[in-house]
Amino acid sequence: MSNVVLKTEGISKSFGGVKAVQQFSMELHEHEIKGIIGPNGAGKTTIFNLLSHIILPDEGKIFLLGEDIENKSQEEVAQMGLSRTFQSIRLFAGLNVLDNVKVGLDNEGKYNLFDAMFLTPRRWKEEKRIHNAAMECLTMLNLEKYKDYRSNNLPYGIQRRVEIARAIVSRPKILLLDEPAAGLLPEEVFELIDFIRLIKEKFELSIIVIEHRMDLIMNLCSEILVQDFGKTIACGTPKELQCDPRVLAAYLGEEE
């Protein structure tokens, strides 16, 4: 079995009386795509927020690349190689597509404020490197023709792809996709499936994806976790889960 890149041990989070996530444990292996499904309010996005340390768990441990991230800030977790997208698109509206992707690299840019203001050779060299890396990423994902567009003027499907491009340009190890197919047309969903496969191969990613669209989940994931009211109610391959009565009950309601 390949290496475990992300592991959680019984993480829980409550908001007041609402137990959003209870005793959530999982292991994500290298080059694996794992799916998380569940009805609205099942705590799926909370799991992502816990993993990316936007909120901190009440109990339990998270290991990223073998390291406990308990004392790390959100920024540090991101720097360690965990990247994510958001349920609602959060592109930077003031920047064009190319600059949006560059932001994914900027924090690691190796020149300081002085270099930036006085245009030192180091600034030119680094800017060139960042530019080339961002362009390479956009070209690889067939997005280069949109590079000068303002992100909010683009069709929804393209915005989704730009957001993913921005998340992976810094070559993270793990990518968390939060409902990447939300708001997409059926044909766009199939394009997205191919797109996610493509980036997984080219960027050697391990991916966790939250989604409601069964076609996407069933096509992509090697293993699926089913969440309901904060608890993991089932776990298995797409085939196993398709007929699982517990899953059907959670999604469609109990049979009379």
Binding site: S52, I54, Q74, E75, E76, A78, Q79, S83, R84, F86, R90, F92, A93, G94, L95, D99, K102, V103, G104, L105, D106, N107, E108, G109, Y111, L113, A116, M117, F118, L119, R123, E126, E127, I130, R166, S170
Partner: protein, 302 residues
């Protein structure tokens, strides 16, 4: 140019310098500061108290004056920049009031409300001011088109998303706040050298508000817009000083004039005169090409 015009140009340049700093803070980072005049005050008083009481020559004293501003900005920034933006804005109002009041508290040294006058005379101040203005605008322009500019614009739109790319939002904000404050200090020193007189009322809340007005008039997303509006709007009331309205010079209506301009801008062009456009050579060449085209067409018709 006569003395009056030189003085006016220097004053406008000082306004351009401060607004450029405010642009980095508000335009790039989205942090609304209503206390930048306090840093002008620190720069001016810091420098000229040193030249007077410690006998330090002007240039090292000016550097120390800027350093004092940097230290204050660093302390204040570290304490307050974790707050939400609106609370930060409130805090800057308080700072903008507190620093000039300190001048009165230490009247023994600063001469309080009577004003501080022992300011050395500098020859060719206009050239120094113009040089510094160009340098500051050049630096901030480069900042905008660097990784810092992009990160600032990113955190302005969405702090949470910016953090998820590993950007340390807090540290970046502190850096930009210090930078903007250092620029304000420089402007304060030039302002004092021009007037050769400073008192606490010159650095009050109205001056800080004026900077924000200039910025939003020109377009808070456009550096060139901010620079041009800072220069022109500072000059305008002085040019109109001979125009009388109800027996009072237009200069007295300065604040009213600015308010009217702000209301017009907010209603009809909320993004400012320039919006997000920058004046650059490409733009100028496109404009001249357009004019050429138009004249060519007219020539054809004739």
């Amino acid at each position: 140019m006569n003395n009056y015009q030189i003085g006016l140009t220097i004053l406008s340049c000082v306004s351009v310098i401060t607004v450029t700093g405010v642009y980095a803070l508000t335009g790039l980072c989205g942090m609304f500061s209503l206390g930048q005049a306090a840093f002008m005050c620190i720069g001016a008083y810091g420098t000229f108290m040193l030249t007077r009481y410690a006998g330090i020559p002007l240039i090292p004293a000016a550097l120390l004056g800027v350093l004092a501003g940097v230290i204050v900005a660093w302390v204040v920034g570290r304490l307050t920049l974790k707050l939400r933006r609106d609370y930060f804005a409130l805090m800057t109002v308080a700072l903008g009031q507190a620093i000039p009041s300190l001048v009165v508290v230490f009247s023994e040294y600063t001469n309080g409300a009577l004003g501080f006058t022992k300011i050395p005379k500098v020859n060719g101040l206009i050239w120094i001011t113009l040089g510094i203005t160009v340098l500051v605008v050049f630096c901030i322009r480069n900042l905008k088109y660097s990784r810092y500019g992009r990160m600032c614009l990113a955190l302005k739109t969405d702090e949470l998303a910016a953090k998820s790319f590993g950007i340390n939002v807090y540290k970046l904000k502190v850096k930009i706040y210090i930078l903007a404050s250092a620029i304000a200090c420089i402007a304060g020193i030039l302002f004092a050298l021009r007037n050769r007189y400073i008192d606490n009322t010159q650095f009050n809340w109205a001056l800080s508000a004026e900077m924000q007005i200039f910025l939003f008039f020109g377009g808070s997303n456009s550096l060139t817009g901010a620079v041009v509006s800072a220069f022109v709007l500072k000059m305008l009331p002085n040019i109109l000083r001979n125009v009388q309205l109800f027996g009072v010079s237009m200069q007295e209506y300065r604040i009213i004039l600015y308010c009217i301009l702000v209301l017009i801008i907010l209603n009809f062009r909320p993004a400012g005169i320039m919006g997000e456009h920058e004046l650059n050579f490409r733009w100028v060449s496109r404009l001249t090409a357009k004019i050429k085209n138009a004249s060519g067409r007219n020539g054809g018709k004739a």
